[in-house]
Symmetry: C2
Subunit: 274 residues, 2 copies
DNA sequence: AATTAAATTTCGCCT
DNA sequence: AGGCGAAGTTTAATT
């Protein structure tokens, strides 16, 4: 009872709009928070003793036990047990409709989706935690390799560009995603490299052309310009050729592998210490 | 600050061994709970602003933002964003070692696995919730179909047994997993069916033989005995033949589909109401 | 321990 | 919207 009071107090005082936490709430209290979270598309977490029924692409039944229910802002539903990477029951985001009911001290949260037709119902008869909050998350997620990683991979293994390529210097560009590497190829020609993580577009080619132009005014050597990227936009290929530039395919993933091998040594060292 | 006091109080008073909840803790407080949870193999949930670095089978980087970290009793690690069914970062259970560090008001939780060699590090600079608890969960999870479901499917579609089969009556058995169905085949012979969800063993055959024996003393009709199951144990097939009984393959999954079609109508009705 | 196949796969990309 | 292919796939079953 003490706890419950504290909870209510906490809700009233602390970030009333942002965060709600109830410990050991009764069904009625929990129901209120759950409804609110679902309507407002907040992240919702309910921890407690529950049973689950799923009907849809398959049919399943989970007997009573303590689990964690997570309902995300996009309507994704996850029921997690004490162990196992995968949720025991779930529903991906889609055209999901939620129903919340409280009867006989049981809180039922039901999610129904039209396509594919499926429904998952979670019933709690004991609740130890209800949490709801908007999650402020604008952070970017980069897999495989960031542009910087591609850059680093090129420095680590210049032959990723071509056999005999040697790096002279490099320059990080914070501007809309470009990284330059300067070097010489096996025949002694100067090489200017522009790295792009995604498909290289017109802007990348023009940018490189501008650089090349500037470099040529300062040297009598032959100068090559190479766009390094996982792919190049359709019409841009022609422009590239017209400007006397080149394109080199480089998979960010391959760069990641190159870097990984270097870091794997660090992992090995960690275990050796242990 | 009020909240923090309340939290500590809550921990001291309410189920000290079972459940711990901190709202807006400082790094030191959170660190204590996190370490404790990891050592005691409790379910751990941390909600807060964090960034994540993963190195292993690939390489990834997640910039700062509010997410949910879940570490399970078996060492599974999940980092969930506001949307999406899948975790943005994760690590399945295995030979995982955890490291917890708190420096400069940043709490870092790092999980390292040997095979495959990979590591995921989550760093929090703002924590809104720390939750830890042992989850008591012995509930069974049954996918596809329970024995009762197979039973019901047979009643719904007797032709699942064979063409022309008709159900006369049925009897639920609570005993170690048997269900009986009585009926007549297309030639008028009496049929006794025993359903099993898993591989039918010696016990099932003997049980059925006993029933058949009893039934034959009460009728002059021909009586067939059929074991219905997804498979039959190796040596048992011979015994079955010796006793003049039969085996009918029936996949629980197929039963589930039969039942699903019936229930799909209910789903459709739900949407029509809406 | 390594390999194969299935999954309520999910997810992105392309037509 | 449907189809195809990849995934840090995971997981269970099988060799």
């Amino acid at each position: 009872m003490l706890i419950r009071l504290l909870n209510l107090l906490a809700n009233a005082v602390d970030k009333p709009e942002l965060l709600t936490v109830l410990v050991d709430p009764n069904v009625g209290e929990a129901e209120t928070i759950v409804r609110n979270a679902l309507v407002q598309r907040k992240m919702l977490i309910v921890v407690g003793r529950c049973w689950v029924r799923y009907v849809g692409r398959a049919t399943s039944k989970l007997e009573k036990g303590e689990r964690i229910l997570m309902v995300k802002a996009d309507g994704s539903v996850l029921v997690h047990r004490a162990t196992g990477y995968e949720p025991v029951n779930w529903m991906p985001s889609g055209d999901t409709v939620f129903q919340v009911g409280a009867k006989d001290d049981v809180l039922e949260i039901r999610a129904v989706r039209r396509k594919p037709a499926e429904s998952v119902a979670v019933s709690f008869d004991m609740i130890s935690l209800v949490f709801s909050s908007k999650l402020a998350d604008a952070g970017e997620f980069s897999l495989h390799a960031s542009e910087e990683d591609m850059h680093n991979a090129l420095l680590l293994k210049p032959q990723l560009l071509e056999e005999g390529f040697k790096v002279i210097s490099y320059e990080k560009k914070v501007e809309p995603g470009f990284v330059d590497v300067y070097g010489i190829d096996k025949t002694g020609r100067l090489v200017v490299v522009e790295v792009k993580r995604k498909t290289a577009g017109k802007d990348a080619v023009l940018q490189l052309a501008k650089y090349i132009e500037a470099v040529r005014t300062r040297t009598d050597r032959q100068v090559r310009g190479i766009i390094v990227a996982p792919s190049i936009a359709k019409g841009v290929q022609r422009m590239l050729v017209a400007l006397g530039l080149e394109f080199k395919y480089l998979d960010p993933k391959k760069c990641a592998e190159t870097l990984r091998k270097a870091k794997t040594k660090k992992l090995a060292e960690f275990f050796d210490e242990e």
